[in-house]
């Protein structure tokens, strides 16, 4: 079974215009502009420390931007507090998964449906998440901290899907996983895109992620250096030399 992701109005779903952001006394993003159109899967690739996590944290309003604008379906996030971003249809799977380690798998999924608007559809979405990740259903009452790395990542993705988002933000879902598991996680990401979700994924695992997404942006030291369709980036000399070791 599947629940089609909600359709949204035309134009970009998410648009960043000249966004700068950072931490006390340290600027991590410089004038970043990008957009994600409805139904698209887009990657932001770049090395460790490039600012990928900062970018997603800025979109989720976990950190304030110092310049620029973020628009979700044309609506500015300027005055939206962090805990209301998800109500606009933006769910994030944070770096390092960040499950509630002492809650069960199902309780973690329940937290993903905390939004009052999501609660009536809890059972339906739980079924959907379990159909995507049958492994989670087998382990529904297991304490999340005792799951394997791959299972934790599934649980974290499932938790984000429980709110029924329009846009799914994924922060390095392949990090810290064994190569076989990385393969299966990317297969799942592909499946989620195929379900109709709009996805913005940040990754260091450039070769793999470019096989899954439609388009990508290259982020280096907080600045967008290149962008284009995945196949184009995969074939570009710059990416091949610097990141694929060819």
């Amino acid at each position: 079974m599947s629940i089609p992701a909600p359709k949204s109005s035309g134009g970009a779903m998410l648009r960043l215009e000249g966004v700068s952001a950072g931490y006390a006394g340290f600027q991590a993003l410089f004038n970043v502009s990008l957009e994600v159109r409805p139904g698209e899967s887009v990657a932001v690739i770049g090395p460790n420390g490039a600012g990928k996590t900062t970018l997603l944290r800025t979109v989720s309003k976990l950190i304030e931007l110092s310049a620029g604008e973020i628009l979700m379906e044309g609506r500015s996030l300027h005055a939206v507090p962090a805990h209301e971003v998800i109500a606009l249809g933006i769910a994030q799977v944070p770096e390092g998964r960040r499950l509630f380690a002492r809650l069960s798998v199902e309780e973690n999924l329940k937290m993903g449906a905390f939004l009052p608007a999501a609660r009536p559809r809890y059972t339906e979405r739980l079924k959907f998440v379990y159909s995507l990740f049958p492994r989670l259903q087998e382990r529904s009452s297991q304490i999340a901290g005792t799951l394997s790395g791959g299972e934790q990542q599934m649980c974290a993705i499932g938790r984000a899907l429980m709110s029924g988002p329009k846009l799914l933000l994924l922060d390095e879902p392949s990090a810290g996983l064994a190569p076989v598991v990385v393969q299966s996680i990317f297969a799942l990401v592909k499946r989620i895109c195929a379900e109709g979700y709009t996805v913005l994924i940040v990754e260091q695992n450039i070769r793999q992620v470019l096989k899954v997404v439609d388009r990508a942006y290259l982020l280096e030291t907080g600045r967008i250096k290149m962008d284009g369709p995945s196949a184009e980036l995969l074939a570009s000399d710059e990416i091949r030399k610097a990141y694929l070791g060819i």
């Binding site: 507090p81 805990h83 509630f100 380690a101 809650l103 329940k110 999501a118």
Partner: protein, 289 residues
């Protein structure tokens, strides 16, 4: 000497059980707040005192029905808990633990002094008395029996709330990872306020049960504040289940120790037990760190 199956010993054990229920309820609010917000309300017992005075004045002075006065007392202390968080804890949430202890300690002395000024130092009693319940050769105090029942019901309700509801699940989740709560659509500050109101409400419930058994005076917090704190530490601070069991252990030491020697000796034995446990497991019997 007494035989081991002495009926009076049985009475002491059963009374210890009843006392355990009350102590378990006392430790619950403090544990909840610490487990979720990671702040120790040193002034917890003084919140109970505020509740006791409120019930006393509403019932004995203004003539409200007792249950209504108690309900108002619970709400008042719940509001006091929320206000304590908003105005005292929130500004020092990121500060060193010692600063947090000092500010809540300041609230303790403030409440004591304010109660002395407002209500005077004389002992007040709501003047409700119940006949003891006699079963065979054993007699129970009715207020203790009521306290036990209400304490258990209150704890069960809290358990179900924390286990089943969205809000309760969020309250358990926030202590594990506060930083990502906004990604779940949860406003962490709101959860802290709700938790503080719940902690205050539990203190208010304890006040309802204590006014049935004890006189009220400005320093009454000192007679059960320390023991509440010790029970929480014994069970592992922040561990509500641990505090629950520790309360019953403590109550048996007090009640049975008091039966063989004198009530004061019961407390001495309980505290010696506490100190011994602290040498053995400084984090408490069921504490994790």
């Amino acid at each position: 000497m007494m035989q081991i199956f002495d009926v009076f010993l049985l009475e002491a054990v059963l009374n210890g059980l009843l006392l355990g229920g009350l102590l378990a309820l006392l430790s619950l609010g403090l544990n909840l707040v610490f487990g979720v917000i990671d702040v120790v309300w040193i002034c917890y017992a003084e919140l109970i005192m505020v509740g006791m005075y409120a019930i006393y004045y509403l019932y004995a002075v203004f003539g409200w029905p007792l249950l209504l006065a108690m309900a108002a007392g619970v709400l008042l202390v719940a509001a006091a808990g929320a206000a304590l968080h908003q105005f005292v804890i929130r500004p020092v949430l990121a500060a060193e633990p010692i600063n947090q202890l000092l500010v809540t300690g300041g609230v303790l002395f403030f409440l004591q002094a304010a109660a002395t000024l407002a209500f005077g130092i004389e002992f007040k009693n709501i003047g409700v008395s119940f006949p003891p319940i006699v079963v065979g050769d054993i007699s129970f105090s009715m207020p203790r029996l009521i306290s036990f029942g209400v304490a258990l019901a209150g704890m069960l309700a809290l358990y179900l709330f924390l286990k089943r509801s969205y809000l309760g699940t969020a309250i358990r989740a926030i202590s594990q990872d506060r930083g990502i709560m906004p990604l779940m659509g949860v406003n962490p500050h709101r959860i802290f306020i709700i938790t503080s109101a719940l902690g205050g409400g539990l203190a208010g419930l304890a006040a309802c049960l204590l006014v049935l058994q004890y006189d009220i005076h400005p320093a009454i917090g000192l007679s059960f504040g320390p023991i509440t704190f010790l029970i929480c530490v014994l069970g592992g601070l922040g561990n509500m289940a641990g505090g629950f069991v520790a309360a019953f252990i403590f109550a048996q030491f007090i009640s049975v120790g008091g039966f063989f020697l004198a009530v004061e000796w019961g407390y001495v034995i309980a505290f010696v037990f506490f100190i011994a446990v602290m040498f053995w497991r400084p984090q408490g019997i069921w504490g994790s760190k």
